[in-house]
Amino acid sequence: MSDNAKERGICELYEEDPERADYLVFGRVAENGRRGFLKGAGLATMAAAVGATIPFHRNMPAGLIPSALADETSDFKLAGKDGLTVLNDRPINAETPPHLLDDDVTPNDRHFVRNNGLVPEMAETMDASGWSLTVDGEVDNPMTLTLDDLRSRFEVVKLKLQVECGGNGRAAFNPPAKGNQWTLGAVGNAEWTGVRYADLLAAAGVKSNAIYTAHYGMDGHLSGDPEKLPISRGVPLEKAMNPYSIIAFEMNGVPIPTLNGFPVRTICPGWPGSCSQKWLRRIQVRDVVHDGPKMTGTSYRVPTYPVEAGEKVEKKDFQIIQSMPVKSLITRPQTGHEIGDGRSLQAAGHAWAGDRWVNAVDVSIDFGATWIQADLQPPPNPYSWQHWTADLSFPEKGYYEVWARATDSDGVTQPFAIAWNPKGYLNNSMHRIAVRVAA
């Protein structure tokens, strides 16, 4: 990759763990003109003291974020990503601010990243020559396939598919829920090229006792223990057999980027992103519900009944999340927008609904008292998000909030409040942005 030299330069500054930094945290660079922080108590104190009196910051190296200052994380960039907010750098987790998700098809540099472990070396070098996929378990014909086998033996499909992290919106939970504090942007809708999961399973010959799949990736465990897997999830056989579940090898017409799962991943759209295993190396067909890391306990699970915020729920009362709920984003304008001239505005965004589709999007400019029906496009294919626009007129100058709510094909509408659950999943409450009308 062309950024290698630059990446290494930054990593040398990354003194927290010099031996592993290059491997673990490649590609994070401070933007020009932003303040960096020096390591070493005396040096840092001195530099900070100077920074307080003169604009010295441009000469200071970056590399360590004072994470208490959440906004500071947006000053750092990941290789191949543009404008994402970095929530965590080891493992890498980064989300996209809503206004940067305005494209109908999410560009690769704007697609969120949720990693559980260490990026595999093959993905860093982007060399798939040694890659193969094993399909085994409860099948008649266990297979090992190369990338060429995938392309030549099966029909290749191209689909726009929405993938959303199960924990998107967790930051709004009160009391807080454990995990990355995603706000709104752990969702994307890229065009994926691959083969149907169902075609692969048909070729392998699924046995009649099979009920679940298990996905295994090449990412390493954070502890460095080669015996441990950071995450291994799967889906019920019927989800794997859905014609829109695919084994993908291209994202927006190019090999899948390093952080998004090069060279091959599953895409099981509309379900928690963790069902779309990155850096795929093996699919095992099972006769039991898969019990790999982050399938069990309370991972990607919610209580089987509604609970009070903060309530303790026993493990046996949790169930695995399947379809994600109906949701929408306002991607234009950016929150905080000011109308300087006139009193009208076109708002726009996307809406999606897990396994379902979206029937309507409504927009309010008066805190939900009245609603205006948005113009909603059909999806280009099932499991793509749907674009909407709404022409808004504001009666007088002042501060407004634009709210959006989508309603799915079963008549279910996004709520205003969060249905709290212990692990902070499935927050599909309405997106709200601020708009100021100057005159």
Partner: protein, 103 residues
């Protein structure tokens, strides 16, 4: 030469106690991945950042029980070497005090 003069002036400022405390504290916290000073900070830093960034820690706002569950999970399932009893208490106290539900 102007640079040594500037450096001397800064040293003088620092030595004279004119350093802005907030700035110094920020630099100090940056040294520990954002962890504020307090008993247990060294232990939390050493124990947690061996495998993952402190960025995930400083995002959290959890009850003491929930922090304890996390530590047990780290030891039982994530390969964290089990700290001795005293260290365990220090770590738990620090996390509960600084990253509680009132974050």
């Amino acid at each position: 030469m102007r640079r040594p003069a500037l450096a001397a002036a800064i040293l003088l400022l620092a030595g004279g106690g004119l350093l802005v405390p907030a700035i110094a504290q920020q630099a100090d916290e940056a040294d520990y991945g954002g962890l504020p000073p307090g008993p247990g900070r060294e232990e939390v830093y050493d124990t947690c950042q061996a495998c993952h960034s402190l960025m995930i820690v400083v995002q959290q706002g959890l009850t003491r029980d929930s922090w304890e569950e996390s530590l047990v999970w780290m030891v039982e399932e994530q390969g964290m070497p089990e700290p001795d009893e005293a260290t365990w208490a220090l770590i738990l106290d620090y996390l509960a005090a600084h990253y509680g539900t009132d974050r």
